[in-house]
């Protein structure tokens, strides 16, 4: 690099610090050596006084004998712990900005059967909520559309990038709101009969829709088998549901009450779908059945109220642990948007109420990675995996723990967000009381 160019870089750099940033400082790509750290690898135990090398977006090396290449930026992590980036298995992050403002809500489209609408399209890479989330160590989030029967297609994204494609993490799933016999909220005043009726109607709708998918599949197969020139008519929803039926596209089946879980298990039986149950707030009532059916579960929020007045007060805390104990593969989600950053606390409560620290940590790292089929890319500290890295000064679940560094796809993330910036500006306001 010649001299002038060097000066230009320096000027650019200082400007970007000095100017008022509309958003955030830029991420930084390069080779980073995180040294002297405790490594929570998830899949290979804990390594003390170890190092981790990040290069070209990947974890290049990990362990106690990592050689740091020339030019690598060394970050001394003495006394710090390194975790893989946390993965939230269900959010609205990027799909909503200001909760009460419909103009900023993009998670619920009109229509009952619209699996073809894509969350990835509507994720706002510049949402103010995203930096707030990632500086707490959540690096990856499944953004999920809702409403209707087939709500749309959810997308897994890493929380850094300027276009949806840059953020896309390689997993999509079609969302099915399984017909519910529960009340929608405490102020749902429908009678039991009405709820049943609505649920039956929805179930019929599901069956009718599915029958069409089956037919579409038969026709499509027949055309293909005969190498016929006939073409299928344009049915956008069928085009998306067909690979679901064939077990190619995962189905994220949202279901919560015990009765509905049973109904959903009955529905998926013998269909050979690649199905994941989400929500599953009463999974503790159906843990055995879920385990037997070998259906993986993404549950949460853990920090929520019991679904029934007569339920023990800690059921939502204990739910994930009870299911895990029974042999269900359980990941944890927040279902949030602005406070997806509380994912470690949701897992922490699950840990405290029966799941245990180790399993709860897996439930926000390697388990969701496995559920998404990305166990070779994310969810643990292993050589060759995407460098989604969180460095903390303590137990990642503990509330007071500070996140010191975050890397996403190997990019060093500036540790700032609207919240930190307002803190910096206002802790000691200037001017203070006097003008």
């Amino acid at each position: 690099m010649n001299h002038i160019a060097k000066i230009a870089v320096v000027i650019l750099f200082t400007c970007s610090i000095g100017s008022v940033n509309a958003q955030n400082a830029k991420g930084k790509k390069g080779t980073f050596a995180l040294t002297n750290a405790t490594l929570e690898t998830i899949t290979n135990g804990t390594v003390s006084k170890g190092s981790l090398l990040i290069s070209e977006g990947k974890i290049k090396a990990i362990g106690t004998s990592v050689s740091v290449p020339d030019g690598a930026e060394i970050i001394d992590c003495s006394g710090l712990t390194i975790y893989p980036g946390m993965i939230d298995g269900g959010t609205r992050l990027g799909l909503t900005e200001v909760g009460s403002d419909a103009r900023t809500r993009d998670f619920s489209e009109i229509g009952d059967v619209i699996p073809q609408v894509q969350a990835l399209t509507a994720i706002n890479p510049n949402s103010v909520l995203i930096p707030v989330t990632r500086v707490s160590g959540v690096t990856t989030s499944l953004s999920v559309p809702s409403g209707g029967l087939f709500s749309g297609t959810a997308a897994l994204v890493h929380l850094h990038g300027y276009t949806p494609n840059q953020m896309y993490a390689g997993f999509k799933g079609v969302v099915l709101n399984f017909p519910s016999t529960g009340r929608r909220g405490r102020f749902d005043r429908r009678t039991d009969e009405e709820i049943k009726k609505a649920s039956d109607k929805s179930l019929k709708n599901l069956k009718d829709t599915w029958a069409k998918v089956v037919e579409y599949h038969k026709i499509d197969s027949a055309i293909k088998a005969a190498a016929s020139k006939e073409q299928l008519d344009y049915y956008p929803e069928m085009e998306v549901l067909l690979p679901v039926l064939r077990g190619e596209t995962p189905l994220l089946l949202e279901v919560n009450t015990a009765k509905d879980i049973q109904a959903a298990l009955d529905w998926v039986e013998n269909k050979n779908l690649r199905v994941v149950f989400t929500g599953v707030s009463e999974g503790w009532r159906m843990a055995k059945e879920l385990a037997e059916a070998k259906v993986p579960v993404i549950t949460g929020p853990v920090l929520s109220r019991p679904t029934r007045d007569y339920d023990r007060y800690d059921r939502p805390y204990a739910n994930a642990g009870i299911m895990h104990e029974a042999g269900v593969k359980v990941a944890i989600r927040t279902s949030g948007a602005e406070n997806v950053r509380n994912l470690p606390y949701n897992a922490g409560f699950a840990a405290t109420y029966g799941m245990g620290k180790e399993e709860a940590l897996k439930a926000i790292t390697i388990v969701p990675a496995e559920i998404f089929g990305l166990q070779n890319e994310i969810g643990s500290l292993e050589t060759g995996k995407i460098a989604n890295i969180v460095v903390t000064d303590g137990d990642i679940f503990e509330t007071k723990t500070q996140v010191k560094h975050v890397f996403i796809n190997g990019w060093q993330i500036p540790m700032e967000s609207r919240h930190t910036k307002l803190y910096d500006e206002f802790l000691e306001r200037s001017p203070g009381l006097k003008k």
Partner: protein
Amino acid sequence: MEELISIHYRKFRTVLFLLFLFPLSSWAQDVDLAPVTGTYAIHNVIIKKAPGVTVESGTVVIKDGVISAVGKNIIIPADAHIIQADSMYLYAGFISGLSHTGIPTPKEDKKEKVKDPGNPPPDRAGIQPQRKVNTMLDPRDKSISNLRKIGFTSAHVVPHGGMLPGQGALILLTGNSPDQMIYKNEFSLFSQLKGAQRMYPSTVIGVMAKYRDLYGKAVQSKGYQLRYNSNPQGMIRPEKLAVEEAFYSVIDKKIPVTFVAEKVLDIQRVLTLQSELGFSLMLAEIKQGWDLTTKLKNADAKVFLSLDLPEVKEEKEDSSALNTSKKKTAVDLEKEALEKRKKEAIQQSYGQPAIFKNNSISFGFSTMEAKTSAIQSTLRKFLDYGMTEDDLLAALTTHPARLLGVSNVMGTIDPGKIANLFISDRSYFQEGAHVKYVFVDGTLYSYDQKKEKKTETEEKVKVGGNWSYSSETPDGTVTGKIKVKESEGGYEGTISNSFSGQTKDLSDISVEGNQWMFSFKLNIEGNEVTIEFNVAIEEDMFEGTMSAGEFGSFEVEGQKDPEDK
């Protein structure tokens, strides 16, 4: 079916038969022949003179509406119409502590939106304490004959409405005009913890605050009025304030405040108001008061328990399931525990009268919410939960008479009391007992069971005609007309509603026994919603539910409009 005995029955049988095909309300008008005598003798009857006092095979003589003689060896006057009541039972007429008997649900017209919901006109906010029932009573209203038919002869009745619907009256369940029916007007100030729709006061906290405010204002204006009356010279003439004046006799404790309060918390809220404001209190429709006996006693409240109780499902004793060696899962155990608590809750509801009795509270019953046709069996059920027949009789006669301050004229079968009586073919609280004759204020009504059976077994009720309905929804009372006519083996019709003013066609009209179902589509905020009616018809009234999908389901009641001819 009931008719006045004074009619020469046979002659009119054909006429009656024809009339029966038509709505009954039009029939009652036709019967205007006066009885040929005002003297009656009920002979050889088991007289339940008062709770615990029975006269076997005695005679009761009624003269011009008053009981003139009771006992054995009574000489029957020559002008008496004799009712031979061998081995039948004679009771004092029952008294209902509170209801809307005789007062039809008002038809609510679509009203203009209140401009300032924080300060609505009092009547829109349900504040109409100056109203009296004599302008509302309809002697032909079916609720009167329905209640009379099961032995009730008098009732404390109050207007429909919001927090202060008006003043109650004690009425006799007979007469052709409100004035004839009313025994005592301005009998109580009726109050409810019921908010107005979309205007102040809309919640229980608003209602209680408003109540305190009104009461305080009334105390103040009454004081000034008193000063003014004693020497008006030099004083500003007080404003005429109908709402506040309605409180004056309450403040003087000349009349009680009658509150409807079903649930444990509402009852205590009313007691809070009472202890702050100091009025005498009558509490009715109590459904959940078993833990409050001490509080109620301390408040010296007059108490009427509800006869509207939860349904008891007769359980099948499944001993095989109990003894099964199969290990119960956590879910089974949970379900068992829940069922047990639910059962206990039902037991508490039915045990309530006995608890009140054991805590020596004399209480009556109120019939506002109860389905009239279920009252007799509900009363019978209390016998399984610690009440005796005499306890029940007291709660239906002597206690309410005393609580309502009319013991001198009602409540027992004694000479000098108003001839409010009824005859049951067997002990009233026994399975299968039927009321055969009812005297109200000396007027005799008789019932022919066979004919009634016939109507019950009639395959399908006819729904053709014009009906008025009303339903309480969270958005207010909705009313409207249902017009139905027969067409090719079925029905067709329309329905209107006071919310939108839209009139819609009915579809899927079906009638099974006395169950009437139909649906229609309504446009609510741009969504097409199917509303389903499912009601049970009893004579020319109906009760049931109106379901509006996710908007919920609401109770609906209605009655057939008299046919104009």
